[in-house]
Symmetry: C2
Subunit: 317 residues, 2 copies
């Protein structure tokens, strides 16, 4: 296990700068009033390819040595990492092979192909994804860029909170959604080095609460195929992300499906931004745990905006 | 007819500064590629009360002399002016009476009441709105703040393009939706004085194209109760807005309902912002008239973001 360092994050920041946005931080006086906290939303939904994952993907792709370029890169992903790796590979002009669950939103499949990614579909379970991927990897010889359990990816994701602490002074806490733990690990990497007084919270759907249960148990607990509207958060922790979560996270908070959908709609309505269900989990948990955040300056990472506009969760029966 | 001056706009800018946002300008490399133009979206959907109309409303309300405060203000509006005047009146602590069509989106009615506005409903036609309003005005004695045919309102709306030309250098054109013509008139007021080389285009739904027909005919043509998804653009020009439109607008372009809905969805999908159908009319007309904008630097005013998330136009049967 290679644990990425602060220097890896700083190198990543320089490497990816030409390929990603420095995303804006938005505030809402309405949501501040509602929560009793001062919330600073880091809007990675405005990021290239629509999500923070482009940071880690660009770091991996643009850090590849020349002799590995011809065979390209490969990954499995429930969506945004697939988009992001395809985007990064397209910018470097190398092939990108992607294993995606057949149930992933059509908008994400279309976008992967729009960036030139080559899709192989699998069943929507961790086991099927891993089996299918092993086959693709063997056939193509492409370099595997894991969506989160990869030091290059975590170093890239860490650039997000490096920007955030430059954009907002005096933060007391940062909260981000947790699935596999890539964003949270990058946040831990950066903040534990550069701003160790800032508390780090992870937010997770109750219906995919493997990270929460792992955190309480003290070891990784993985679920196969959890069901949640927050489709970016279904994957389990792995050794590298568990390292960061177990060492640097203050707490993991959970929210129900309805609470997530309500928080998502509230952000759309009040902040006028399009973001994914996964990105609403932090606000949903803040609204349930107001006492933990009242009076605090809290960075909230809006992780992505790639939502299927024809199947919004509050429109479904 | 009192025509507002550059000095009125400058006074408005100072007066409303504590009450409104300086809204951001966003760009999209995807939409630039699609149109062949360089588009700069002035995001008034992020404005206080969710629309540019708060600029004019705050200018009128905060410019009221003390002896007129007790009876408050009154207006008729298809939505955003109602919200904005209620917001402004609430901040000054005076009453606000609003006549709204009963068919206005529920989200807008709720928001007017949330800001303390007092609603009287009318039928969705110009004639019913004016009759109902005359009654309310007589009963309350409140100061009428017309949604657009008012020099205080036009001077306030002109502050938007004053910001835009500070935020983006070297614009060749600015395009905004046209309903009654308040935003376009404010844009004309500011740009004809401060940046007379910038061409001003107005964008209108084909199904509510009274401004287009007026422009071609050389005199005001008013429709009663046009039907369009762009619910902010159903009202006709009046003498003051006609003055600006007829003197300073380069052209009025129109788009069909489907073109407006497609452009709206495209902006949501690619730019990750929530905005109203009315605000999509400019992009819809740019996509139809690419030759007029190719290679140009074009300011596009996104006028508002108060949409009913439970009744998005592409979800309707």
């Amino acid at each position: 296990m290679i644990i990425p360092t602060l220097q890896d994050m700083l190198t990543a920041r320089k490497r990816i700068a030409p390929h990603v946005h420095r995303t804006p931080v938005l505030t809402s006086s309405y949501l501040n009033g509602l929560t009793g906290a001062e919330l600073f939303f880091k809007c990675e939904n405005f990021q290239k390819a629509g999500a923070f994952k482009v940071r880690g993907a660009c770091n991996a792709v643009f850090g590849l040595p020349d002799d590995m370029l011809e065979k390209g890169v490969a990954t499995h992903s429930s969506g945004n990492h697939a988009l992001s790796l395809s985007y990064a590979a397209g910018r470097r002009g190398i092939p990108c092979h992607v294993v995606m669950p057949r149930t992933a939103p059509q908008a994400k499949k279309d976008a992967v192909q729009g960036y030139g990614g080559i899709i192989t579909e699998c069943e929507p379970s961790t086991s099927s994804r891993e089996e299918t991927f092993a086959m693709v990897e063997a056939e193509t010889g492409a370099e595997f860029v894991h969506p989160y359990n990869d030091p290059r990816v975590i170093a890239g994701q860490g650039t997000c909170s490096a920007e955030l602490i430059e954009q907002v002074e005096g933060l007391d806490a940062v909260i981000a959604p947790i699935g596999g733990g890539g964003m949270i690990s990058g946040t831990c990497l950066t903040l534990s080095n550069l701003a160790p007084d800032i508390k780090i919270y992870a937010a997770e759907p109750e219906q995919a609460d493997d990270a929460y249960r792992s955190f309480k148990a003290g070891h990784i607990i993985a679920d196969d195929a959890p069901v949640t509207v927050a489709d970016g958060l279904k994957v389990p922790l792995k050794d590298l992300t568990w390292h960061f979560v177990s060492n640097h996270v203050t707490d993991i908070l959970t929210a129900s499906e309805q609470e997530i959908i309500d928080a998502m709609k509230l952000i759309w309505k009040r902040m006028k931004i399009v973001m994914e269900p996964s990105s609403a989990v932090p606000l949903a948990t803040i609204l349930k745990n107001k006492e933990a955040f009242a009076g605090k300056r809290v960075g909230v990472i809006i992780t992505g905006g790639n939502v299927d506009l024809d199947a919004l969760p509050w429109m479904e029966k």
